[in-house]
């Protein structure tokens, strides 16, 4: 396979030059994405640059249609960039990279319905080359972490929406990624389940030390979960503001959400998103949407 070795060699030289200048887990550099098709071009992302440090939990919010999912798919290597580059652990992302897991919004459709919960979680581990015993252990640990051990032999469609999304999270966790991307994972579950799942993400993130990038349209959720909130403008997308969330690391649904600082941050991000909807760009200029 001459092509593969060529690519690997290419990556190796890139790695050598890159590791010297960056320690970020994920580095998004001047990423641009323009969709072209049927005589119509849509500029989705104009220019995005940000870094996510190892072990950070960063939330990305923006008005609907801000290209959040586009950005996530670019970072996941599922979509080709029109310009710039995404660098994961010092290696440029050219396809779905090693060491990254994605949890999609459509939980029901990201699980293989013909497999049991256990088989769903196991499949990526098989690909990783884990032995049978190691796989079993990893699946059990992941299921225990999301509280679904007793559903291991059920099929995904036999579970509720919240449980299905927990299976998807367990699959990602068992894969032991260095970066976990989550694309509006709780947009389609009810409010109570959502609060539970938010706390689950926080606790898994703390325990595993994984870098998490969490895309959401929910401002409260972004402030509650994140250490930073990246607010995107409307299309064509640029970064409006990088908001540091200086809330204490121990968070819980009641006290954190009623803390005055939470209210201030929430209010600030809310104003930013409202401004973004009206076409606010960084630097104060307003562009007609």
């Amino acid at each position: 396979m001459p092509m593969k070795t060529a690519r690997l060699a290419d990556e190796a030289t890139e790695t050598a030059t890159l590791t010297a200048e960056t320690k970020a887990a994920l580095d998004v550099r001047s990423v641009q994405k323009t969709y072209e098709g049927q005589g119509r071009t849509v500029e989705a992302i104009r220019e995005l640059t940000f870094e996510v440090g190892p072990g950070q939990l960063v939330c990305i919010v923006g008005p609907s249609g801000a290209g959040k999912t586009t950005l996530l798919r670019c970072m996941a290597g599922l979509l080709e960039l029109s310009g710039g580059e995404v660098v994961l652990d010092g290696r440029p992302v050219t396809g779905p990279p090693d060491g990254m897991a994605v949890v999609f919004q459509e939980y029901g459709r990201s699980l293989f319905p013909w497999m049991t919960v256990r088989q769903n979680i196991e499949l990526p581990l098989k690909e990783k080359g884990l032995g049978k015993a190691a796989r079993r252990e990893a699946v059990d640990a992941a299921l225990a972490a999301v509280g679904l051990l007793e559903s291991a032999d059920a099929h995904p469609w036999q579970l509720s929406g919240g449980m299905q999304q927990r299976v998807a999270i367990a699959r990602a966790v068992a894969y032991e990624p260095s970066v976990l991307l989550m694309d509006e994972p709780f947009a389609a579950v009810d409010a109570q389940t959502r609060a539970e799942l938010e706390d689950l993400v926080r606790s898994l993130w703390k325990r595993l030390g994984v870098t998490v990038i969490f895309v959401t349209h929910d401002i409260d959720e972004a402030v509650y979960l994140g250490e930073r909130v990246l607010v995107l403008s409307n299309r064509p997308t640029v970064l409006l503001e990088d908001v540091a969330v200086d809330l204490p690391p121990e968070r819980d649904q009641l006290s954190t959400r009623s803390a005055p600082r939470f209210g201030e941050l929430r209010g600030h991000v809310y104003e930013l998103v409202q401004a973004a909807k009206l076409g606010q760009r960084p630097g104060g200029d307003v562009e007609e949407p």
Binding site: L78, P96, V102, L123, E127, Y175
Partner: protein
């Protein structure tokens, strides 16, 4: 009526056939028509017609040809359909040709195929059956592969599943409900072609036997052949459903839940 589910099911399955048989029995009981002999006479002729060697010499070869033809179509249809379904360019290239062949009624192929493979041998008949079964299998597989849930494909890609794992664990199971639809259509076309392929230049086989009975005015025997053919159809359909239920249990379960059943 009883509440026992098995008995209930059996009742519903058998009620109408029994009713029809009774009606046939009563309507032909005193029949003197040469073409409509009493059902009692037809049933009495059944064992001597079929169990004196015809099962082995006529019925089994017909079923074997059906089996081989169907199996060939199954392998080629699913392999070809999967490849075509995966590559949009290939699909664009082959679609008009496939639509053309699908539009041809399979029986018109019989004489054409016979020209190349000879009238009397088994090869021509197997080819006829295989060609007729191929199109529903191929086209349904193409649609099944094309209609795969994009989120599942993204999931498979993001976990970097290798090509063969993607095939084995994602593409084939994902397309299997459509493949089963194609296989069911193919099976019924196959049975028709099994008979039709024997109408031209064959002296052995279930279809050939029925035609010979008809031409020699052995009317009760002809009727037994038609009944036997129907019974084979039922048996094939039951066998098919048995396997379908096992392989597609997940699909049926998911569909029932989505329908709120």
């Amino acid at each position: 009526m009883t509440r026992h589910p098995v008995i209930r099911k059996a009742f519903f399955a058998l009620a109408l056939p029994l009713l029809l048989l009774t009606a046939w029995w009563v309507a032909t009981a005193n029949s003197t028509s040469f073409f409509w002999p009493p059902l009692s006479e037809i049933l009495a002729t059944f064992p001597e017609t079929w169990f004196n060697g015809r099962m082995v010499q006529d019925v089994l070869p017909s079923l074997a040809r059906l089996g081989v033809g169907f199996a060939l179509a199954f392998v080629v249809g699913i392999a070809g359909g999967t490849i075509i379904g995966l590559f949009p360019l290939l699909r664009a290239l082959t679609e008009p040709v496939m639509e053309f062949f699908r539009a041809l009624p399979p029986p018109v192929l019989v004489p054409v195929i016979a020209l190349f493979t000879g009238y009397t041998g088994s090869v021509g008949k197997v080819v006829t059956i295989a060609l007729g079964c191929l199109w529903p299998l191929l086209l349904n597989t193409v649609e099944g592969v094309r209609g795969l849930e994009p989120v599942l494909i993204d999931t498979a890609r993001s976990y970097r599943l290798s090509l063969w794992r993607r095939m084995l664990y994602v593409v084939l199971p994902g397309a299997s409900p459509r493949m089963a639809t194609g296989a069911r259509q193919a099976l019924s076309i196959g049975v028709i072609l099994m008979v039709i392929s024997e109408l031209f230049g064959a002296n052995r086989g279930l279809g050939a036997a029925i035609v010979q009975f008809q031409r020699s005015f052995a009317v009760p025997e002809m009727w037994t052949g038609i009944i036997l053919l129907g019974l084979i159809g039922v048996l094939l359909s039951v066998t098919f459903q048995f396997f379908e239920k096992r392989v597609l249990a997940w699909y049926v379960g998911q569909r029932d839940i989505e329908r709120g059943a």
